[in-house]
């Protein structure tokens, strides 16, 4: 947690947090500032989940309109503003997928690894390097199948049924792989929380 005032990431985070606070207090102008700071990242997320330019554009609009309506739900104590916004955007995109309008899952599981850069990563607004390293570390302790399909679910917004179909295995098998993985993943993440100082 770098608090040094010359750390660009810390500055960007504080600016965003302040803009979120202003938005929650009813200052609509803050939305534009939030938009300019976060649009590239959030559009990347919508595009990845929805796999369709037009759908992703609609989703992005909904994200910011919803944000304006519900900025007061952001708890500055809890998550960094960009984490919160990224979760918010991903959840909106998944909701959109599940309403059935979008075919979705445009990215095959094998390619569920990161796409080549099309645009710079969202400025300095990376989420949290320590937690990022930890989740990757814990994922790597899982069986290869669990790892692959948990990632595919996260990056592709795939359901159990879609993953089973793609992998050509029975639904129960896919659920079993993933659930086993999730149980181990939780144990690993919880252990890291307990031993935060040691880690």
């Amino acid at each position: 947690m770098a608090d040094s005032s010359d750390d660009p990431a810390a500055i960007a985070r504080e600016q965003l947090r302040a803009a979120m606070a202003r938005l929650a207090a009813g200052d609509s102008a803050a939305l534009e500032e939030i938009y300019s700071a976060t649009r590239v990242k959030l559009f990347g997320i919508c595009l990845r989940i929805l796999g369709d330019q037009k759908e992703a554009e609609d989703a992005l609009q909904d994200v910011y309109i919803n944000l304006w309506q519900r900025a007061d739900r952001y708890d500055p104590q809890r998550a960094s503003p960009i984490s919160w916004l990224a979760t918010f955007a991903r959840n909106r995109a998944i909701d959109r997928l599940r309403t059935g309008k979008v075919r979705g899952g445009a990215v095959p599981v094998d390619e569920a690894a990161p796409l080549p850069d099309e645009a710079p990563l969202a400025d300095s607004l990376l989420i949290d390097a320590e937690r990022e390293a930890q989740i990757h570390k814990c994922l790597e302790t899982l069986d290869e199948k669990a790892q692959t399909y948990i990632r595919a679910a996260f990056f592709g917004g795939r359901t159990y049924a879609q993953l089973a179909e793609t992998a050509d295995v029975p639904l129960g098998t896919m659920k079993s792989w993933i659930r086993r993985g999730l149980i181990r993943l939780r144990a690993c993440l919880e252990a890291s929380e307990k031993g935060e100082d040691a880690a």
Binding site: L31, I65, A79, I127, R131, H136, A153, M174, R186
Partner: protein, 267 residues
């Protein structure tokens, strides 16, 4: 072992507690009834909601691996236009933006005046007493619930719920145990021609949601309830409203997003 997987649970299927379900929901693995149940649980099970947030917070750093993408100037123009429109409506005391998003703004504007029990942060019970009186006249049932003798009823007094839809409109729901029916008044809403809204009961035991039928905008309707449903109705029972394609949630298809919720409470 409580999983009900059609795909061979078998001895290999790991135990699935709420913490795992929260992870499945966070990742977006669930669909259909399981998704509905998880959404309902977010509203009435704080441990589950906390755990879902915990998983969200752990998974979200993965999105740093997703390359950003520039959305183009027209997107901000569209957002600011919608924002300006919503603000103008708000300034005139009209329907809030999320109603506009549902395509109901025009009707909402008109109906806001004739909405007779705008509770506006006032006593729901007092406001809804009016709803009972005006909802009495018989109308066509909105759902074909199978008959069957009502089981022992969990509640013998009328229960009511006032479900906020946007900031000024409310769906008024009244449960009449002696008649095993529910009165659903949607007289403030109007159809957008693209979606319907379906009302659900979320049983306390976390079992699958039970449909209370599609809400008919602009009307007050009676919904006959089967014993299967009424035995899950008690003071505090959770109701959800989801946005669906016209005609309600199609068989075998995922339910839409929850757009409103409310609790049935004794008058």
């Amino acid at each position: 072992m409580t999983t009900r997987d059609p795909g061979s649970p078998g001895p290999d299927m790991p135990e699935r507690d709420y913490k795992t379900i929260a992870a499945e929901y966070s990742l977006g693995l669930l669909e259909g009834e399981e998704l509905m149940a998880a959404r309902a649980r977010m509203l009435n099970d704080p441990d589950f909601a906390w755990r879902k947030g915990w998983w969200d917070d752990w998974f979200v750093p993965l999105s740093d691996d997703i390359p950003g993408s520039e959305p183009g100037d027209h997107i901000w123009q569209a957002i600011s236009a919608r924002l300006a429109q919503a603000q103008a409506s708000a300034a005139r005391g009209e329907a809030p933006a999320n109603i506009a998003a549902l395509g109901e703004a025009r009707a909402a504007r008109k109906s806001a005046q004739r909405w007779r029990w705008i509770a506006a942060a006032s006593s729901v019970a007092a406001a809804l007493a009016v709803a009972v009186l005006i909802a009495r006249p018989g109308t066509t049932p909105i759902s074909e619930t199978p008959g069957g003798p009502p089981l022992a009823q969990a509640s013998s007094a009328p229960l009511m719920a006032s479900m906020p839809v946007g900031e000024t409109l409310r769906l008024a729901i009244t449960y009449l145990p002696d008649q095993s029916e529910m009165l659903v008044s949607a007289s403030g809403l109007s159809a957008d021609g693209v979606h319907d809204h379906e009302l659900w009961l979320a049983p306390k035991d976390g079992s699958a949601l039970q449909s209370l039928g599609v809400v008919v905008p602009g009307e007050e309707r009676r919904v006959p309830l089967s014993g299967e449903v009424t035995r899950n109705i008690a003071n505090g029972a959770q109701l959800l409203l989801t946005r669906e394609p016209l005609g309600g949630k199609p068989e075998g298809v995922d339910a839409g997003p929850v757009v409103a919720e409310a609790q049935l409470t004794a008058v």
